[in-house]
Symmetry: C2
Subunit: 173 residues, 2 copies
């Protein structure tokens, strides 16, 4: 990994073009492009993406966002935490430790982290030291929440489950 490092990506036309190589290209990237075109953000603004360049090629990236403890329902005590998504390495560069480099970078902020992996990726996240959070319907809906905690942080205690029948009555009215 000599000469290869994780860096915060800047929003400019080159970055947004690089992003098209990634499978998870979607609403987020299109919104960044619009913001740049409409001058809502300046050229070379910092983005929520971090990436790894191999020479001039962006070969891996992830998005990272800090949520306030006011919205923390995952950790105990409630605290600021990072949400990580769109972790992806381009196919030709996989299995060389780049994904781990990005995850380690995210951990270096020393805040708890929450992500929502594809089910098929559970094993990868467990290797990264993440664990499956106790699923809570109201909080998680369609998610498969995985969390990582620095020392001293625990998973939040889940509120007692509401009887699903009660919830049901609310849905059809």
């Amino acid at each position: 990994m000599v000469g290869v490092k994780v860096e915060r990506l800047l929003i400019n036309y080159k970055t947004l073009e690089d992003f098209k190589q990634f499978q998870a290209y979607g609403a987020q990237e299109l919104s960044m492009l619009e913001d740049l075109q409409n001058e809502i953000v300046e050229n070379d603004s910092k983005s929520p993406f971090y990436g790894i360049y191999y020479g001039n090629t962006l070969i891996a990236r992830m998005s990272l966002y800090e949520r306030s403890k006011l919205y923390d329902h995952y950790f105990n005590p409630p605290q600021d935490y990072l949400v990580l998504w769109k972790l992806e390495v381009l196919p030709d560069y996989r299995l060389r430790g780049y994904a781990r480099m990005l995850v380690d970078y995210a951990k270096s902020f020393n805040l708890p982290i929450k992500t929502n992996p594809f089910i098929k990726a559970n094993e990868f996240w467990e290797k990264m030291g993440f664990e499956s959070a106790s699923y809570n319907l109201e909080r998680d809906l369609g998610e498969n929440p995985y969390i990582w905690m620095p020392p001293g942080v625990k998973e939040a205690i889940q509120p007692p489950q509401q009887n699903t029948d009660d919830k049901k009555e609310k849905t059809k009215n």
Copy 2:
């Protein structure tokens, strides 16, 4: 479609076994299984899933949850709305209109609906009358939000974007 209808699924061992046929089987289903095993929910409790049986086979399903208007950041005026996820038809039964039957059922509650499709499914959701919601980083993070609105409902106006540089400073501290 004679004799085929959408029904609310009951949580029991047969349903939970049927769920294993679906690709999106994951944390939510495992949690339902645990709740049943630990008698936190009764056998045959109502679930957040709706499905279609073909004979004795569960061939399609979706999950539906009603969010209170207190948490509505998608619609104007703010109102109770449905979150739809895990819409899936088993491979052998695709392209016969079952997905549309489920979506039409969700619409029949006459509440706005929000979903988070895979990018590749955008076209399907547009055919279903959904539209891409304006992406908002803080609200949507890794999502690709699509919404459907009954008459009289509009999309929520987005707050002005924060400069990404400001946000940035918050992340690394």
